[in-house]
């Protein structure tokens, strides 16, 4: 079974809004795509995604695997400059500069978070 990787850039995400973005993400996972979302989803958007996923789950589509990493988890946050940028982005209400991975549960058993990497366990 083939797993393709799709990328949803931050600019496109901002332009189309969360509801349309979730539709696109779920469509892509149903086509066996792993979607990488630049900027990452907020917790509320993740919950919205889970809710919409459950509306789509059936005998053929089992749902998704999901993993979000914030900017501070992706970069070395011991660096003072990186900490300042992170704080500045948060104050502006901007996304943290992280990423969210969303993949089809049919193919991906688990997306695991480690201190310095993400691992995908494929079925």
């Amino acid at each position: 079974m083939k797993l393709e990787i799709s990328f949803l850039p931050y600019e496109e995400f901002s332009r189309i809004g969360i509801d349309r973005a979730i539709e696109i993400i779920l469509d892509k996972t149903r086509q066996n795509n792993l979607v990488i979302i630049e900027g990452g989803l907020t917790s509320e958007e993740e919950m919205n995604l889970i809710e919409k996923t459950m509306e789509k789950v059936n005998y053929r589509y089992k749902g998704i695997e999901l993993c979000s990493l914030s900017r501070s988890q992706l970069i070395n946050n011991d660096n003072l400059w990186n900490r300042f940028v992170n704080l500045f982005l948060n104050l502006l209400g901007r996304r943290s500069g992280g990423i969210t991975l969303v993949g089809p549960a049919k193919i991906i058993k688990e997306i695991k978070r480690h201190p310095d990497k993400i691992s995908l366990l494929i079925k």
């Binding site: 907020t42 917790s43 509320e44 993740e46 919950m47 889970i50 809710e51 996923t53 459950m54 509306e55 789950v57 005998y59 089992k62 749902g63 998704i64 695997e65 999901l66 993993c67 979000s68 549960a105 997306i111 978070r113």
Partner: protein, 209 residues
């Protein structure tokens, strides 16, 4: 007790908010939410809330127990409505239920109910006044579901107690949970044996003040 504390308590009794609120139990599947709900309900009402089993998604709809009144060691009372919720998950696979001796029809029905239950649990989150975020003390605390639930509670400014369940098991690691979430109140319990449940009741009193 100083004069300021006396004045504060006096005005709180007159003008303070009613101590009746909705206490929700949220978390991933199979963390013991219904076991804890049953423990609380049995301790104070003498009746259970719902059925417990080892099969994932046993609780597939919101279960509510009203008029639970807990009493502290110093005689204070706290009344709340207890809300037990289906476990939050990002996937539901009916084939998983076949491993528990359900036939295909039963497994598909269970899966359908489970997805509806998750949707319902998410919708109810906005109505909660306090939440017990249930984690399995033997499992990885950094799971995405845990982080998503806690993030949503923070965004909604809902007070949270993290309940690390199953501390009666050898694999339980309460320190790992506390290290993962240092900004939260973490209470380790066993809903099955009742271990440390009194500490949880104390924390519920504290958080609801």
């Amino acid at each position: 007790m100083g004069i300021l504390s006396r004045l504060r308590n006096f005005f709180r009794r007159i003008f303070g908010r009613r101590k009746v609120f909705k206490l929700g139990i949220y978390g991933p599947t199979n963390t013991g939410k219904t076991s804890l709900a049953n423990k609380i309900s049995m301790d104070w009402l003498g009746e259970e809330v719902g059925k417990v089993s080892g099969i994932p998604h046993e609780t597939r709809e919101i279960q509510v127990k009203e008029n639970i009144v807990i009493e502290s060691e110093d005689g204070r009372k706290l009344q709340f409505t207890l809300v037990d919720t289906p476990g939050i998950a990002t996937k539901v696979d009916y084939e998983e239920f076949l491993n528990y001796n359900l036939n295909e029809k039963e497994a598909k029905q269970r899966a359908k109910e489970a997805t509806k239950g998750i949707i319902e649990a998410i919708k109810w989150l906005d109505d909660m006044d306090v939440v017990l975020a249930m984690l399995d003390a033997t499992a990885n605390p950094y799971s995405q579901i845990n982080l998503t639930i806690l993030g949503n509670l923070e965004a909604r400014k809902i007070p949270v107690i993290i309940v690390a369940n199953k501390i009666d098991l050898k694999k339980a690691n309460l320190d790992k949970i506390k290290d993962a979430f240092p900004q939260y109140e973490v209470v380790g319990i066993s809903a099955k044996t009742g271990e440390n449940i009194q500490e949880l009741y104390r924390k519920i009193f504290e958080i609801s003040r």
